[in-house]
């Protein structure tokens, strides 16, 4: 989205975003923030989102269909094979467990690689809703951050992964490109100032990288 949109444009964007009918590249992160900022001050647009939420829910529910019974059996068998850690169930406990697991995995991966382990405080854990990939961003100081990602899929020839940093309200700034190592891991240094609200994201791009993202991010995290 270029420039500041009018009220009517933001109202339309909020509706379309909620339905999932908006362009879904990284630029929408900035677009989404513009919508959110506007929603705080506009009752009419909040109503528009509520309208789209209800309609979208109805469209989704209209498709409901019972899956085959054996799917549940298969799923429960898979769950039984992957017991979860028993704990308090609190958000903090869960996040600590996830963070610890990522740290251990990354530490192990680092042992297999020749370069020096990263240092510096963890700035963000990168999460993916639909892949197994995850990552950790560290800010050792200054304008450099290190990004370590694991469980990356090998890409076809001609495609690379690319990092992006998105300052609040700004367009995505291109970061370095990289490929997954043999263990599905990557370790990349990027130049961006670790400020609050900064979003770090990873997309798949044509070899050589892009100046603006051409696919949706599959891995993201925001500095709190």
């Amino acid at each position: 989205m270029s420039g500041i949109a009018s009220h009517d444009e933001l109202r339309d964007l909020a509706m379309l975003y909620t339905l999932g009918a908006l362009e879904t590249n990284l630029a929408d992160c900035a677009e989404a923030r513009a919508i959110e900022a506007h929603l705080h001050e506009c009752d009419a647009c909040r109503d528009e989102v509520a309208l789209a939420q209800v309609g979208t829910a109805m469209i989704a529910r209209s498709a409901a269909e019972a899956p085959p019974q054996e799917l549940k059996q298969r799923l429960l068998a898979a769950v039984a094979e992957t017991p979860r850690r028993h704990g308090s169930g609190s958000n903090i406990a869960r996040w600590t467990a996830v963070a610890a697991a990522i740290t251990v995995l990354i530490a192990f991966a680092m042992l297999l690689r020749p370069h020096q382990p990263s240092e510096g405080p963890v700035a963000i854990y990168l999460q993916s809703a639909t892949t197994q990939a995850s990552g950790v961003v560290r800010a050792p100081g200054g304008d450099a951050m290190t990004v370590e990602v694991e469980h990356l899929a090998a890409l076809p020839a001609g495609e690379v992964y690319q990092l992006w940093s998105i300052a609040p309200g700004a367009k995505p700034a291109p970061g370095p490109t990289f490929t997954a190592g043999s263990q599905g891991t990557a370790h990349v240094t990027m130049h961006a100032s670790p400020e609050k609200g900064l979003v770090i994201a990873v997309t798949i791009e044509p070899a050589g990288g892009s100046q603006a993202p051409t696919t949706r991010p599959f891995l993201t995290g925001a500095l709190q």
Binding site: A50, G55, R61, R84, R216
Partner: protein, 180 residues
């Protein structure tokens, strides 16, 4: 009401309670599988997506950060299914929904929890075709409103107007059903 039930189940799932997982599956499997089936057509692929969505809930319940679980589950199923359609090397996802947008309204929750599916199906089927087509192409076809406009050779403004009119009609039908 339903939200607290789901939150309770998710808390137990986070503690490794497979019984709670089974209960959550019973509540939302039809929704997740149905959305995937509608997008993918292939029952086998729809089962794979359904399994991946629920395994994600089991292994990383913290990915659900609040609001309506039904809306979240439908969104994850939709994204995963569309990524299968697009044959992505890696399954992609949309940017995070801002917290304000993710907050569920009461009516939205009602759609997933309290209303007979038949009422919903009738409401959707009862939309004027021009409105239903643009909404379904966007939602199940994974098209942006611009792509819908190009595909139907219809002006952008008309597509937006039809989407809004359709959404308003759906909400009206729901309100009528719940207040009857």
């Amino acid at each position: 009401m339903s939200r607290s039930v789901d939150e309770g189940l998710l808390e137990r799932i986070a503690s490794g309670d497979a019984t709670a997982f089974s209960a959550l599956y019973d509540r939302y499997a039809d929704l997740v599988y149905g959305v995937a089936r509608r997008i993918l057509r292939s029952p086998e692929q729809a089962q794979d997506v359904t399994q991946s969505v629920f395994l994600k809930v089991w292994s990383r319940p913290q990915l659900f950060t609040g609001g309506s679980f039904g809306a979240w589950a439908a969104r994850v199923a939709r994204n995963a299914s569309l990524d299968v359609v697009r044959s992505s090397a890696v399954r992609l996802r949309e940017p995070e929904i801002p917290a304000t947008l993710a907050a569920a309204g009461e009516l939205e929750e009602t759609v997933f929890a309290d209303v007979d599916r038949e009422i919903i199906v009738r409401a959707v089927a009862g939309l004027p075709e021009a409105e239903r087509v643009v909404i379904e192409q966007a939602y199940f076809g994974g098209l942006t409103y611009r792509q819908v406009a190009e595909r139907l050779d219809t002006p952008l403004g008309t597509v937006k107007t039809r989407i809004r009119a359709g959404l308003q009609r759906l909400r009206g039908a729901l309100q009528e059903a719940v207040t009857r």
